[in-house]
């Protein structure tokens, strides 16, 4: 028999009260694990999204929203265009490894939402080697009236090879010649067409929205960006900026969830202290008797401390299970508050995170148990025994 066993039996004595307290701790831990899992998962998903853009630098017209998230915020509008001459001037730079021009256009759909059309050239696949075909093939010519559809767009619109699609606000009907494999990026929702075709049917001759660039040496990035600033009509965006901007956009959602987690933890601490303190008061006489038969202050302190640690550890385990089981639900909830949600899972709960949460719960137990344990250990045996009279 050990003190730990006695502590466990004491907790089991008042099952409902103990379960409610464990539940409180579990809720706090579940919120915390979900939040930290979201932080880790969101960054991973965002990194994955941004890395899969395939370029380190994006050149756009000055003032042009450079990112799908911003387009969404603006309801699909606000795109600005630059002359294709810019591309001709940049492409000769020796520091460039790969470069691809793009022309993005957004068309609203009846009933809400919008579809993004992207005019691209052959060089697009050099920057995005993972853009492989699920079905079909590349455009037959640079001016063909053909489209290649991203995986999700094809799924959504139930498109297959050979289908004819009508592009709103134009008089053109294009043929689906390819469907990309899922990439886990925003490209999955885009409809691609040859750059020249896009310029023609959207009536934007010699215009571009962006130029994606990959450098031979990433160390030259700063100098390269500096040089491009000489081009007055453009802006240069590095991927670091893209990530930073998006992370800023979601910071308000993070603050909201962090506040909830902090409140939940505070409530859990108060709950644990209250439960253990009540239990100590109820057992005052018993504690007095334990002292009368030889228990020292330290042993009584240990006994009460064990009780809080058991409650918090059980709460921690249960909370971690809740977080693992309810991750998708939390993800659905959190996504509603996000201005931009990358593709893939937004909540990543690693074994390290579970371990960290358990240690956190134990630390919560250690902290919450100090006061009740001190109260119990410092009781005078005779006064404690008489308390029941």
């Amino acid at each position: 028999m050990r003190l730990l066993k006695i502590a466990y039996k004491n907790i089991a004595r008042k099952k409902i009260r103990s379960l409610l307290t464990i539940g409180g701790v579990a809720m706090a831990v579940a919120v915390l694990v979900s939040l930290l899992g979201f932080n880790a998962g969101y960054k991973m998903a965002l990194n994955n999204d941004v890395d899969k853009m395939g370029y380190q630098v994006l050149v756009t017209a000055k003032g042009c929203p450079y990112e799908a998230a911003t387009l969404m915020l603006k309801g699909g509008g606000g795109l600005r265009y630059m002359d294709a001459d810019v591309y001709d001037r940049i492409v000769t730079d020796d520091r460039i490894d790969k470069i691809t021009p793009q022309l993005a256009t957004v068309k609203t759909i009846e009933g809400g939402g919008f579809t993004m059309y992207m005019g691209i050239e052959d060089s697009y696949t050099e920057l995005k080697p993972w853009a492989t075909f699920k079905e079909g093939k590349w455009f037959t010519s640079p001016e063909a009236l053909e489209v290649i559809i991203g995986y999700e767009a094809a799924e959504l619109e139930q498109r297959t090879i050979g289908d004819q699609i009508f592009i709103p606000d134009t008089r053109e009907i294009l043929t689906v010649v390819g469907i990309f494999e899922r990439t886990g990026t925003q490209d999955d929702g885009v409809i691609f067409l040859p750059l020249k075709t896009a310029q023609k049917i959207f009536d934007l001759p010699d215009q571009l929205t962006g130029i994606g660039i990959k450098l031979k040496d990433l160390g030259q990035l700063s100098a390269f960006e500096e040089d491009l600033y000489d081009e007055g009509s453009i802006q240069v965006i590095s991927l670091a900026q893209v990530k930073g901007t998006i992370l800023n956009l979601i910071s308000s959602a993070q603050i909201l969830v962090t506040s909830v987690a902090i409140i939940a933890i505070f409530v859990a601490i108060v709950g644990v202290i209250n439960t253990i303190l009540m239990s100590v008061f109820e057992r005052t006489q018993e504690i007095g008797v334990m002292k009368a038969i030889g228990a020292g202050n330290r042993q009584i302190f240990q006994l009460i401390w064990y009780e809080t640690i058991i409650i918090c550890t059980m709460g921690g385990l249960l909370g971690s299970l809740f977080a693992l089981a309810g991750g998708s639900g939390v993800e659905y909830f959190v996504k509603r508050f996000l201005p931009f949600a990358p593709e893939g899972n937004l909540i990543y709960i690693s074994p390290q995170l579970i371990l960290f949460s358990l240690l956190g719960a134990i630390a919560l137990g250690l902290f919450s148990g100090i006061y009740p344990a001190l109260r119990a250990s410092l009781m005078k045996p005779i006064e404690a025994i008489r308390s029941g009279e």
Binding site: V289, I293, I382
Partner: protein, 228 residues
Amino acid sequence: MQPIIEARNLEKIYKTRVERIQALKGLNFSVEKGDFTALMGPSGAGKTTLLNLIGCLDTSTAGELLMDGRQLDHLKEKELTEIRRNFVGMVFQEFFLIETLSALENVMLPALFNPGKKIQKERGAYLMELVGLKNRMQHLPRELSGGEMQRVAIARALMNSPRIILADEPTGNLDRKNALNIFAILAEINHTEDVTVLVATHNVKLAHQAKNIMYISDGLIIKEEAVR
């Protein structure tokens, strides 16, 4: 021979907000090793106060109290705990068993609190047998009768092999048959376990089961009598 307990002008005063109660008014007595002494007196005479002082549950206001020659007054809490742990076994009127632990676990509890001693299940089982509860070891307190619970409490008091057993009205909540049985057990352990027994009671017939009787009244020892 040095007495195991010796009191010299022992006083205990309780102060409340409204009054000052002198429970012990300068006691002088001694108990020899191996004695079985009954402490007799009416309610409020000071029996419990005296046992609490000897059991190191409380401290005296004035005078001296010695256990095996060691002065108990002015000891620190840690030293008092040490004495409660190794020298004294307490038995209370209300049994005070831990309701979540089995009878055997209750008996073994003092050993758990004694870091210097290995928890011996065998000794716990032996003591349960000694008090006639060999078949009740795994029962919870609520599954035992009052007499059985008090016998478990006596076994618990013996777990750390104390030098003295202090029993405060151990038969107060029991019927006549169980009361006699408890006194018989106390007499037996006084003999077989070589332990000094000091038991408070106001039952004259039970008190005469002891070797000596000390009469206490109004905070003073008024008479000492050898029974056998």
